[in-house]
């Protein structure tokens, strides 16, 4: 066991963890933050995307022990004071959610993308979200939501009529 101190969504936690525990299991099972999902467990699908010291990572491939002294942000920190973020609103508006399993990762990857590139093109959106798989909604509504969230007219790139 190892004692770690970690800040998750602005809240400070001190916990004992087994060395082999992943950050994903720690978030879901030790902290009860089940918004972060486990898909493939091998860095393919992006369902477990979280912010780790300000950058997106696959939480299935990070050890909880590595988070000692670090900052983590999950989907539970996206809405502030009960109010959805602009990205969440846009996903809602554009029906970018069907089963919802990929949505947490999609939204956090979108936040990272818009942080470095506030007005991404459709190609840049595809590139920025290449590590997040959706298996049911289809990507079109997700791309539309991201265009809208970044203040760009939806339909650019022929999406509306594709």
């Amino acid at each position: 066991m190892k004692t770690i101190q970690v800040t998750v969504n602005g809240k400070h936690y001190t916990r004992d963890v087994v060395e082999s525990r992943t950050l994903l299991r720690f978030l879901r099972e030790d902290l009860g933050l089940t918004g972060t999902k486990e898909g493939c467990g091998a860095g393919e699908c992006g369902a477990c995307t979280v912010f780790f010291d300000g950058r997106t990572v696959n939480a299935c491939m990070v050890l909880a022990a590595e988070a000692d002294g670090r900052t983590v942000e999950t989907i539970e920190g996206e809405a502030k004071d009960g109010k959805l973020s602009v990205i969440q609103e846009a996903f809602h508006m554009h029906h970018a959610v069907q089963c919802g399993f990929c949505t947490s990762g999609m939204i956090l990857s979108t936040r990272e993308l818009l942080h470095s590139n506030p007005k991404p093109t459709v190609e840049e959106i595809k590139d920025g979200l290449e590590g997040n798989f959706c298996r049911c909604t289809g990507y079109q509504q997700i791309i539309e939501a991201i265009l809208d969230a970044s203040g760009q007219p939806v339909g650019e790139g022929g999406l509306k009529h594709a």
Binding site: E19, S20, G43, G46, V57, M61, V62, L63, S109, G131
Partner: protein
């Protein structure tokens, strides 16, 4: 669930090397973890001790030394490389290789050195590093040695590293600044995927080098070509240097065909 292991995060290089000397092959070094933790999960490897190298001083440094060149530290991530203006300006071939490696989140964690130390034949960084004449500085408690990447890989997932050694840094020589190059990778999908074959072509001062991944047990360098060579000569030299196999991703014949195709395309594109 991951099998049990102990975890250490040494605060200094000497402490890390000491742990590695003590535990040898029973220990594994953790950098980005994007291969290591997947391999532990699948049971492919069963380390007793995982040594995190990201906490020691300057582990993530990416610096420029006018005498040596670009110096890449052991915790420098693929995205650190891509975000570096000097890399984009002076080592564009490295940036192209880096951008084709896995997905954005993985590039935030995966390290440049991890990508070569794992010695996968499909390493995306190896073709670029080989073309630019890069070398690894290999260190243990016994001392340091410099190994050019042409001598670094010894087989599928095998390198010259002894159990107590790490690659402390990669040096991309200052003399390679100004190299023009491109990297093309055949994948099953447009998004992130392991390479089926990868080809880099680099030109500098009349000389041409070709780096190839996924077409032999180790990443391959074809050196000694010149601008004055014909594309047929470049293709012949490359096909002579590679020895692909048929596997789960494609056949040997398709790999040979695509190596030739990429050499032909990039030979023209880089002129």
């Amino acid at each position: 669930m991951l099998q049990e292991f102990r975890y250490a995060a040494p605060k200094s290089r000497s402490e890390l090397l000491g742990l590695l000397a003590e535990h040898g092959a029973k220990a594994k070094v953790l950098a980005g973890g994007t291969d290591l933790l997947v391999n532990i999960r699948s049971g492919t490897i069963k380390p007793e001790l995982v040594i995190d190298l990201k906490r020691f001083e300057d582990a993530g440094a990416l610096t420029w030394d006018p005498a040596e060149g670009l110096v890449v530290g052991p915790a420098t991530t693929i995205n650190d490389l891509l975000r570096d203006p000097r890399v984009r300006r002076d080592f564009p071939l490295l940036a192209v290789c880096a951008h084709d490696l896995a997905s954005y989140q993985i590039r935030n964690r995966a390290t440049v050195i991890g990508n070569v130390v794992n010695a996968s034949p499909c390493s995306d960084m190896a073709p670029g590093l080989l073309c630019l004449g890069a070398r690894a500085v290999v260190t243990s408690v016994r001392g340091s040695r410099s190994v050019p990447f042409t001598d670094f890989f010894t087989g599928v997932k095998k390198t010259v590293l002894a159990a107590d050694e790490i690659v402390e840094r990669i040096v991309v020589p200052a003399a390679s600044v100004g190299t023009r190059g491109e990297y093309r990778k055949l994948k099953r999908i447009t998004g992130h995927d392991l390479g089926i074959v990868g080809v880099a072509v680099a030109r500098q001062n009349g000389s041409v080098k070709i780096g190839v991944s996924s077409a032999a047990p180790v990443p391959v360098l074809v050196a000694g070509l010149k601008d004055s060579n014909t594309v047929d000569e470049a293709v012949a030299a490359t096909l002579k240097a590679v020895s692909p196999i048929s596997d789960i991703r494609c056949t040997k014949e398709y790999r040979l065909f695509m190596v030739e195709t990429f050499v032909r395309r990039l030979w023209e594109e880089t002129k």
